[in-house]
């Protein structure tokens, strides 16, 4: 697998006439975890949802600027959004497995993208579940409903589901904020594991989490990136006053 990253250039997002994200230019390296932190309403989730054009679904939402993957600007109107999204996986705050069996949750995407062979699908399901550290817990009940799993298991299933279609990039929108501490640490271990293969961008409210899992961190405030640097630098030696105030808990 060749390593693919992603970058944005002057990306702005507007909801009708309100500007939620202002001229954000960021680079996301392959095989690295980038954390987006900042107070509620600072535009970090909106920014994340723009990266796989999920904001296209929201009426009155306008996105300007460029998003580059390989040599293509995917924010251009001629981009095939459907096939683009296959290459950018997404994980939500609340686990949202399909109302289907565990097996179907994972096989659903690859089958649509052309893998019809039963054996090949079985293989993908097992590999994806293994990568998501869920195989041992679910191998005996693959054809039971995914909704019977616990919240943490459901979230790992959602991660397995997104890696089953072999994306280059995985976007995570506060993937552990609805989970208990044990499940949270499992998800964090998983992220550390997954970054060997994927470029991961994660939005988090939990600064300890950002410090633990990410290589680089971007601090968002009122739609702008205040500071973007190596995570160690952001948390030990921030260059901006606002960053320092935020990570020391003085606001937000």
């Amino acid at each position: 697998m060749t390593a693919i990253g992603m970058s944005t250039k002057n990306l702005s997002v507007y909801y009708s006439d309100k500007q939620a994200v202002k001229d954000v230019s960021l680079d996301f390296q392959a095989k690295q975890v980038t954390a987006l932190i900042g107070p509620s309403g600072c535009g970090k989730s909106t920014f994340l949802r723009s990266l796989n054009r999920m904001n296209d679904l929201i009426p009155d939402c306008k996105i300007t600027g460029e998003i580059w993957i390989r040599d293509r600007n995917i924010n251009s109107p001629d981009t095939d959004v459907v096939s683009l999204r296959q290459r950018i996986g997404m994980v939500w705050q609340r686990p949202n497995p399909f109302h289907k069996s565990i097996y179907e949750n994972i096989a659903f995407g690859p089958r649509y993208h052309g893998t019809k062979n039963k054996k090949a699908l079985d293989e993908i399901v097992e590999q994806s579940l293994r990568k998501a550290a869920l195989w041992e817990e679910t191998k005996d009940r693959l054809h039971n409903s995914a909704l019977a799993l616990s919240g943490g298991q459901q979230q790992r299933l959602c991660i397995a589901r997104s890696i089953a279609v072999k994306p280059d990039i995985i976007l995570m929108d506060e993937p552990a904020s609805a989970l208990d501490p044990v499940s949270t640490s499992k998800i964090e271990e998983l992220i550390a594991e997954l970054k060997r293969d994927f470029c991961i961008v994660i939005v988090t409210h939990n600064m300890h989490q950002a410090a633990r899992v990410s290589d680089k961190t971007a601090f968002f405030l009122t739609g702008e990136v205040v500071e973007y640097d190596l995570t160690t630098n952001i948390f030990t030696n921030p260059q901006k006053q606002e960053t320092n105030d935020y990570i020391t808990g003085r606001f937000g």
């Binding site: 679904l57 949202n96 399909f98 995407g109 995914a146």
Partner: protein, 295 residues
């Protein structure tokens, strides 16, 4: 008055009102069933009605009702599903869409006798379908369709947004997302609504008086060629349904046992509609489990 007393009064009023509704319903059902059940027999359900003598049955009417329902649903379900999917997933949020929604609402509240007269003028006379099952089915479609559209739209809207986004984020097309992720979740709602709508069609009389007609040709139940004028399957023959039959013999029946026949037919009608309701619930749950693998 203290908050506690107010709470007690409100609770008892609500319990009393609910009890009253249940009583009225049970009384109504009980009355119809007690009067009619004794008259129902295999012979009654299968034989043809008599004009002057006693002992007539409701066989052809029962068949007509079921067949008309079938025809109506064949027309309504594809149209209603299609329009509902469009309204929920494709229509832009603007004045035109809101206008369409308003028209759909208005259409569903048109009195059924008006729909019947519309059917008579347009379908029976202008289009020349004559008094026929087909004209009746189209007239029923007029007020069944809005219901179908609304049910489909509501069913799809009740699907959590994250489900839709999860499917799109895997790189699935919008159509595949609708058919494979959203419709299965919406299916119990849509199905229950559809069968309830079917129950309404089954009991409808006013819209059919001037469209499907008030009489049946002498049906030959051994002739299954849909083009033969005496075949039960011919959609272009006139057909009196069960509900219309009840109305007719009650108002102008000459047979000496007209009252009993009406009572028996009413019981059959009520039982069938009840059966529709239970079938709807059962099938909705069954399909949901099938699609979602919940044991």
């Amino acid at each position: 008055m203290s908050a506690k007393t107010a709470n007690k009064i409100a609770t008892s009023v609500i319990v009393a009102v609910s009890g009253l509704i249940v009583l009225v319903l049970a009384g109504l059902l009980g009355y119809i069933l007690v009067r009619g059940l004794g008259h129902i027999s295999f012979d009654f359900l299968t034989s043809a009605p008599e004009t002057i003598r006693r002992g007539g049955g409701i066989g052809p009417q029962l068949f007509n009702s079921v067949f008309l329902l079938f025809l109506t649903m064949i027309i309504t379900i594809p149209l209603g599903l299609g329009a509902g999917i469009y309204m929920s997933e494709y229509a832009p949020a603007n004045k035109v869409t809101n206008g369409i929604r308003l028209i759909v609402e208005v259409l569903s509240s048109v009195p059924s006798i008006i729909v019947g007269l519309f059917g008579l003028l347009v379908l029976v006379n202008l289009f020349g379908f004559g008094f026929s099952l087909f004209a009746g089915a189209l007239a029923l479609t007029v007020f069944n369709l809005p219901l179908m559209v609304r049910i489909t739209e509501q069913g799809l809207r009740s699907v959590p947004r994250e489900q839709k986004e999860a499917s799109l984020a895997l790189g699935l097309s919008k159509w595949k997302t609708i058919t494979s992720v959203m419709l299965p979740i919406a299916m119990p709602v849509i199905l229950t609504g559809t069968i309830l709508a079917a129950g309404r069609v089954f009991g409808e009389a006013a819209a059919l008086l001037f469209t499907a007609g008030m009489s049946s040709p002498r049906l030959d139940f051994s002739d299954w060629n849909p083009f033969s004028p005496f075949s039960p399957l011919n959609p272009f023959r006139p057909a009196e349904t069960l509900a219309v039959h009840i109305w007719k013999i009650n108002s102008e029946g000459l047979a000496p046992d007209a009252k009993e026949i009406a009572a028996g037919a009413s019981a059959v009608l009520v039982i069938t509609v009840l059966a529709f309701n239970f079938a709807a619930r059962w099938l909705g749950r069954y399909l949901y489990r099938r699609f979602t693998a919940i044991k």
